[in-house]
Symmetry: C2
Subunit: 435 residues, 2 copies
């Protein structure tokens, strides 16, 4: 009987070794992003989740409308943040909270041991207080300022959270779902900066997906360099008639804008410039004492951006000199003040990183070809400090973002496919199993 | 005894005729403005009033500070209007009231039969809400936005009201003292327009003095023609990076401003242009959908003003065409909208009118020489509809009006002389007697 013991022991031993080897192979295989994606794509859980996405489509659309109609102007995202906090909470996340910067977030716990993944959709829009954010629906098209950028991402995240729960997907990594503040303009990425460098998840987030692109097949694995300036031209001011002939900062600024309008920039690497906001002066019959403009300069190339920034500063200088020569400076000359209001570093996530490979494999699983690109999003910050990060699509067709006639299409088939792609990319990055 | 009667009768008759003739001569003489001014200038009452002005100087300065520190932004003069209403009331006027437009006023009744004189000082300043209007005092200089234009006029009117009462000056004409709204900029002279064309004193005011000039010896008997426009450039808007290459209304407007800055206008007749207020755009990273500017065009000459207006419209057109050629219009082209926000007619009061002659005689009585000029003030409206009107000095040295470093000097001797000149001009126009 005792002889049986060794035999049984041997059998047990062999079985244990077999199981270990099997487990090792499974883990190894699972670590290959393409294998994991294939396995997830073919799993029953994925079919279950997909069925759920179809059944949940109307709710997704309703939540998108609800969120769009809660204004979230730059630096004033609080009302929308509170609503989204509540939505994260009822969709099964734990540790739901608002941090000191105003980001709202919740955790979907993994089985443990994997690198934490943060999934970000930003709460803020570019539209100021008072903008009409009522959604106009025409067929499957929804039109409203901010309905795409990035409100659709906020809504689709809730949608896939429910699908992942319905299919009982289990991941190895914890996933932190975040509705973050300050992605746009003057926000200067304050939300993601706080999250990664000051908040309680600082040093714990090891990979990041920004759901913030309008192009379905694009994986933005590089951050566009962006520099934004508030430029103020100052002068002595005075009465428009009695003091006529004094230097006028509006003339200096107009001249600078006219010069900027004639700038030549490269198409490849893509380089752009914008005058986005103008302000200044107190009354029609006063020479302004101060006028200002907000300027946005970007390039995929650090060198091209630097060249553009240099030319921009030269233009400001020329405009000041020319106005001071054109009119009297006896009450004071025009001066220019330039404040850097946003500086988004360039950065890159290698194309052979697991995160980029997962995202590419998901797009390929759906029969499409990924396109690699660069954007200026929350992902710039992790890229710049060495955390693998990408920006991917919030899904669906749409257009005219940052304009008052922004729109998205919520046609069901394309919307569900977009949600599937986003869900699978998140699951693969968090090392989910289809089993 | 009865014979005595005719004798007595004859004596009485002769005396009556003599008195009538004397009275006739006095009235005739009084109707010559120069004679009336001389008589007033040399009167005991005027000496009494002057002594009073000296003793009241500190109160005048205090009231000037008090009024300056009550903000009166364009279209928001109410707080200051209420305070001034109370001040008019305690300075002996009757029928003190606020009209439907927001003007405040009170009547100093005359003995009857003379043409009603309106004396206007405007309540509004050019400075927007939130401007720091605290008065900084250095020696006899007071500095604050609006301290001169036209707050000093409001305060000096109260000062001379007290002096006229102290000296018991009686006028023939009723004098309507008004703190009026909407003189500056967008106000578009709404206060004086209401007063003369709609309010209860419509058709009763027969001559008008606007206390609204910084030049002591200048009699403005002509109104400068002014046209003011709010110009908006509209375009499709879009994302600063993703939609780069679309037409940008800020570039069109910058180009228009740069072209305006190169305009040539005549010194004689004086012709001026100003870009006073700029606004537009929603965020640094959005191509604006709309930007606007407020433009002020003026000339002493109707012809020069028309030429300037024509050139201005051409510039706007050129700027639109050039931007639409420079960038893509596939999402929509730039268009310009131009709204006339103020149109101040030219007008004139003849130099040989009693009002102008009185004002000139007063300045000469003080040993100075009057200078004739043109301004853009409340007086433009009566001039244009045939009511004799002038704009004269609020008194005292000062400068930098319509700028944040506006200042006035309240040195006593020059301030008292300025108050004397203003008081005598008003008294002469209202046919006061020094007796």
């Amino acid at each position: 009987m005792t002889t049986q013991r060794p035999a049984r022991r041997n059998h047990s031993y062999a079985k244990a070794v077999f199981l270990l080897i099997t487990a090792f192979i499974v883990i190894q295989a699972a670590e290959e992003p393409e294998v994991r994606v294939k396995s997830l794509f073919e799993s029953q859980k994925f079919r279950t989740a997909t069925e759920f996405l179809r059944s949940d489509h109307a709710r997704f659309v309703q939540e998108l409308i609800t969120l769009t109609e809660i204004p979230a102007p730059p630096l004033k995202e609080q009302a929308r943040a509170k609503a989204y906090l509540e939505m994260l909470s009822v969709n099964g996340l734990s540790d739901v909270e608002m941090d000191a910067e105003g980001n709202v977030m919740g955790l979907r716990k993994g089985s443990g041991g994997g690198p934490m993944l943060a999934v970000l959709a930003h709460l803020d829009t570019v539209f100021p207080e008072g903008t009409d954010v009522n959604v106009k629906r025409t067929g499957t098209k929804l039109a409203a300022p901010g309905v795409g950028d990035d409100t659709r991402a906020l809504a689709v995240v809730l949608h896939i959270l429910r699908a992942m729960a319905a299919a009982k997907f289990q991941t190895v990594s914890d996933i932190l779902f975040v509705g973050d503040v300050g992605e746009e303009g003057e926000g200067d990425l304050r939300g993601v900066k706080y999250l990664l460098t000051k908040g309680k998840y600082k040093d714990r987030v090891k990979q990041l997906i920004a759901v913030d692109s309008s192009e379905q097949m694009r994986i933005s694995a590089a951050g566009i360099g962006t520099k934004r300036y508030r430029v103020s031209f100052l002068g002595p001011g005075g009465h428009s008639y009695l003091a006529f002939g004094l230097v006028n900062p509006a003339f200096a600024m107009g001249n600078a804008i006219a010069k900027m309008a004639r700038l030549k920039v490269t198409d490849q690497p893509k380089t752009t410039f914008n005058v986005g906001v103008l302000s200044g002066g107190t009354s029609v019959n006063s020479i302004p004492a101060k006028v200002s403009m907000d300027v946005d300069l970007r390039s995929e190339s650090k060198d091209e951006l630097n060249k553009l920034v240099d030319r921009f500063h030269s233009i400001l200088h020329e405009a000041v000199v020319e106005e001071n020569e054109a009119r009297s400076t006896k009450q004071g000359a025009i001066v220019v003040e330039t404040k850097l209001i946003s500086d988004r570093p360039t950065g890159e996530t290698p194309h052979d990183s697991a995160l980029v490979r997962s995202a590419a494999a998901v797009i390929q699983a759906f029969g499409h070809e990924p396109v690699y690109g660069a954007l200026s999003t929350d992902a710039n910050i992790p890229m710049n400090i060495g955390i693998p990060a990408i920006a991917i699509a919030r899904g669906g067709k749409g257009g005219r973002q940052h304009s008052l006639d922004e729109w998205v299409d919520v046609e069901e088939n394309s919307s569900v496919e977009a949600a599937q792609i986003l869900m699978l990319t998140i699951l693969a990055a968090a090392a989910a199993s289809g089993q």
